[in-house]
Subunit: 189 residues, 2 copies
């Protein structure tokens, strides 16, 4: 196991604090204090507060983008693809649960190019998911509900999962996958 670089430590500590109070409510002095150093020392490792935020958010956003790309390229039914997306979400949630707080609540504090990049990734992601659902409806695999309502319903649950995962003490991943797939899929078959 590789040891964390000092920069990675900062990002990890910051993720934890952002998760609790949000980006704007956490100061550089807060982050430094949690590491038992002074705020100015942080600047030996990172260029500023913005860099911390964008590293946290964009890293996870890229995971989602990559995962979705993989699912879309697969040769399988729409329902199977939806299952894969659900499982991907759960895997990312388990590995990055604190970063997901920043991604969900603080993305609007990204600046300029990072903000644009993030919004684009998010829109593309949703559009890909929407396509899978539409395909499934057309193929008769999925009920004829408004695709937007199905998309919204599933995505809301997946995007909020990090909160419940943190609260209900780190549930078993495989059980979680099985239950979530059941509950989210059975309703649309």
């Amino acid at each position: 196991m590789k040891t964390l670089s000092r920069k990675d430590e900062i990002i990890s500590v910051a993720s934890h604090l952002f998760n609790e109070k949000g980006y704007k409510a956490v100061s550089m002095r807060d982050i430094a204090q949690a590491m038992d150093i002074k705020a100015s020392s942080l600047y030996n490792h990172i260029s500023g507060k913005q860099e911390i935020l964008s590293e946290i958010i964009l890293k996870v956003a890229e995971e989602f983008t990559f995962g979705m790309k993989k699912v879309v390229s697969e040769n399988s039914s729409a329902i199977e693809k939806v299952e894969k997306v659900i499982e991907m979400h759960i895997d990312i949630t388990v590995n990055y649960s604190e970063a997901l707080a920043a991604l969900n609540n603080d993305w609007m504090h990204l600046d300029n190019t990072d903000l644009i990049a993030f919004v684009k990734m998010r829109e593309d992601y949703e559009e890909n998911f929407r396509s899978i659902i539409k395909q499934g409806i057309k193929a008769g695999e999925i009920k004829q509900y408004h695709p937007e309502v199905i998309l919204f319903s599933i995505l809301s649950t997946l995007r909020t999962l990090y909160l419940w995962y943190q609260k209900r003490g780190k549930l078993d991943v495989n059980i979680l996958k099985k239950d979530m797939v059941s509950v989210l899929i059975k309703g649309i078959l």
Copy 2:
């Protein structure tokens, strides 16, 4: 139609700004500027920034508490109660969509007694919902999934609804209710 008091105007403007950027990212000067007055003038109507936040959040939280109390006291099946809860959520979302942003994302910035009161209301609310679901499972109306997973899945969707309602341009309430009830209920029958 009663005209808004100056205090209510402040709360309305603040809700809008909190909805866009979050409580900590909005300054008293921002709120004042949006009303074309100076920040210090706000203090003729409210005691401070904290009061604005707690008025926004607690008012909606009490709506939820009241609505849930009403549903619980009804003499109807578990599934009917779940339907009522969904419809109540949609009604509140339509009437307070901007306040819901603060309730969901900024509740942790409430202080002392307000924070305690809010967390209690939230826990009670979830516990009531959980009971309805457990009843429904015991009565054979609802599938034998883990109650926590059903609770989480439905509640996530309802709690995030305000975001979609804002984005997809104010959908028709009755259509929304019908679709949401279908999608959320059919999966657990």
